[in-house]
Amino acid sequence: MEIIEMLYKLLPLVQGFIYPNEIELHWGLLIVLYPYITGLVAGAFILASLARVFNVSEVKPTYRLSLLTALAFLLVATLPLLAHLGHPERAFEIFFTPKLDSAMAMFGFVYAWYLMAVLLLEIWFDYRADFVMWSKTERGLKKWFYKILTLGVNNISAGALELDEKIGRAITVIGIPSAFLLHGYVGFIFGSVKANPWWSTPLMPIIFLMSAMVSGIAAVMLIYMVTQWLRRKIIDMKCLDTIGLYLFNIFVIDFSLEMLDLIHRIYEAEESFDIISLMMRSNLFWTQFVGQILVGTLVPISLLGISFFFSAKPGARKKLYFISSILTLLGIFAMRWNVVVGGQLFSKSFLGFTTYKLNLIGAEAYIAAAIAVLPLFILAALLYLLPPWEEENR
């Protein structure tokens, strides 16, 4: 059996003492991916909502793009969870016979609510007028596709459009707390595990939420730049600057919260502190200190800061934004890794460590890679079918 072979290879790598059942690290790469993907969804959606609810007209060009990005990632958000279950065929028990005080049980409902009641509805109301138009101008299969999407509502009089706008706005207003709920809740799944001192903190949902916004905004920024380049269109610098400023501000808040958590741990120095500080200095040094904090946070924050305070030229700003958004996405991934994997490296006896080696996990690595690139294909398809570009539509 693959798993037992792997465990025999891990056995000699154990450091110190761990409970014998702890050699297997139970939540691996797939579960790292899960909060990463839901975070991108929540973040992208919140960026879209800014444009709509708070009337931030600068970020309008990315409004629809953000919604489609959120949808593309939301559609795959449950896959990593499903793939890691011992019995995926029983997954629907979570819906049919949920245990209401389990943090995980509620995820299904929060997810369904967010997908059906918020995101799909908002996209539909926003695109409805276009569906009607495209169903008239397009030909063949595409024509029928849009016809079906109109759901038979063909009225595009000024009054009807105004109503669309009103309903869309109302959905966004409900959507913002829903997006907060979706991801804050993912943080709660970890933050409420009192057995694990690395996870157990009431700050966890807030930190997850902030980092979700950071990653979602960075993702939309990157996708916007790349799609404009691919389509040989001009990048709207006002839009990019505004997004960059949001990214900078929220990133600073996120980083402060994470440091607050760290300082709190160091100052309180509870029973688990020895093993946790040893872990941060050794096992997590590269992924946390270097990957997450240095390269994934301080560098992008500084680059963004430079572009604002030294009012760099547009060409230079674009480059700075481009690099910062990539580093940010890597940094938040490292953060998810350090939370999920880091929390399982040390023994709950606080006397030793197990290891997690990507080259030993076998099929899980390929499944995770496939799930990670899938949203990009979905997004490409969405962009083709529901072009979000302003200049062509309006």
């Binding site: 003492f17 409970y19 011992g86 995926p88 057995a195």
Partner: protein
């Protein structure tokens, strides 16, 4: 309308009877009988508890072996319903802990014994917590606490999400490598409901492990708790373990 209602109710009753009979034919009622206490076991009269007298343990590992055999626990050294840890304290050094193969084959001799201050063995099992975090987190209720205080997993229901393994502060759970469901100590439920002791208790040659009904004032476990000063593991987490230790040292978690 009234007729229709009656008809459907009659039909429904018939169907229910038929399904109950089908279930009976499948051998289901045995379990059901055991649970309702119809075969002599009265669940509501029991609350199971367990004591460990650390000073008596010699680290022979017979309990670990007996458990693996009785409960078909996978043989490999990564899956244990019970295991034994050895603590060794040397002058001026940190305590050294080991549990090779869960202590199943006993323990190798300790090195440089001259420096040794003290050493002792600590058997571990699921604490059958009164407030079990594993039960709290299970998204489908596959892990549950039965009225007699035993924390069990329903292998036909568990989806293998492993949340309970994360939530257990004591490392008492593992994912069964073939069944892909969570597994852990059951106090040998198949034995205790027939009036037998758990396999580990029976196998222990030194009476380190004590078992009994907390609701019965004269049970071995109640005598043990009265005679000794007992502790539970990680009391600060509020899990309220029902495994009571006598003679553990500050390093044991």
């Amino acid at each position: 309308m009234a007729d229709m209602n009656n008809l459907s109710r009659r039909e429904f009753l018939g169907l229910s009877l038929k399904s109950i009979m089908a279930l009976m034919a499948l051998g289901f009622p045995k379990k059901l009988l055991a649970m309702t206490g119809l075969d002599g076991y009265k669940m509501e009269e029991h609350l199971w508890g367990y004591g460990i007298d650390v000073d008596k343990c010699i680290g022979c590992g017979r309990c670990v072996d007996a458990c693996k055999v009785e409960n078909n626990v996978p043989d490999e050294p990564f899956f244990f319903r019970t295991w034994v840890e050895r603590y060794a304290e040397r002058k001026g050094e940190k305590v050294e802990v080991d549990s090779p193969n869960g202590g199943r084959d006993g323990f190798p001799d300790l090195k440089n014994k001259k420096e040794l201050v003290k050493s002792f063995f600590v058997p571990k099992i699921c604490n059958h917590c009164e407030h079990p975090p594993c039960v709290q987190v299970c998204p489908v209720g596959a892990t549950y606490k039965s009225p007699d205080g035993v924390v069990l997993v329903d292998p036909g229901y568990c989806i293998g999400c492993r949340y309970c393994i994360q939530a257990c502060p004591y490392g008492a759970r593992y994912l069964h490598p073939k069944k892909h469901v969570a597994d852990k100590c059951t106090f040998c439920y198949q034995r205790i409901t027939k009036g037998l002791e758990p396999a580990c208790v029976q196998a222990c040659p030194t009476k380190t492990r004590i078992f009994g009904n907390l609701k019965d004032g004269n049970s071995p476990i109640n005598k043990f708790i009265k005679a000794k000063k007992v502790l539970v593991l990680k009391p600060d987490l509020g899990t309220r373990p029902k495994i009571f230790y006598s003679g553990i040292d500050k390093e044991v978690r």
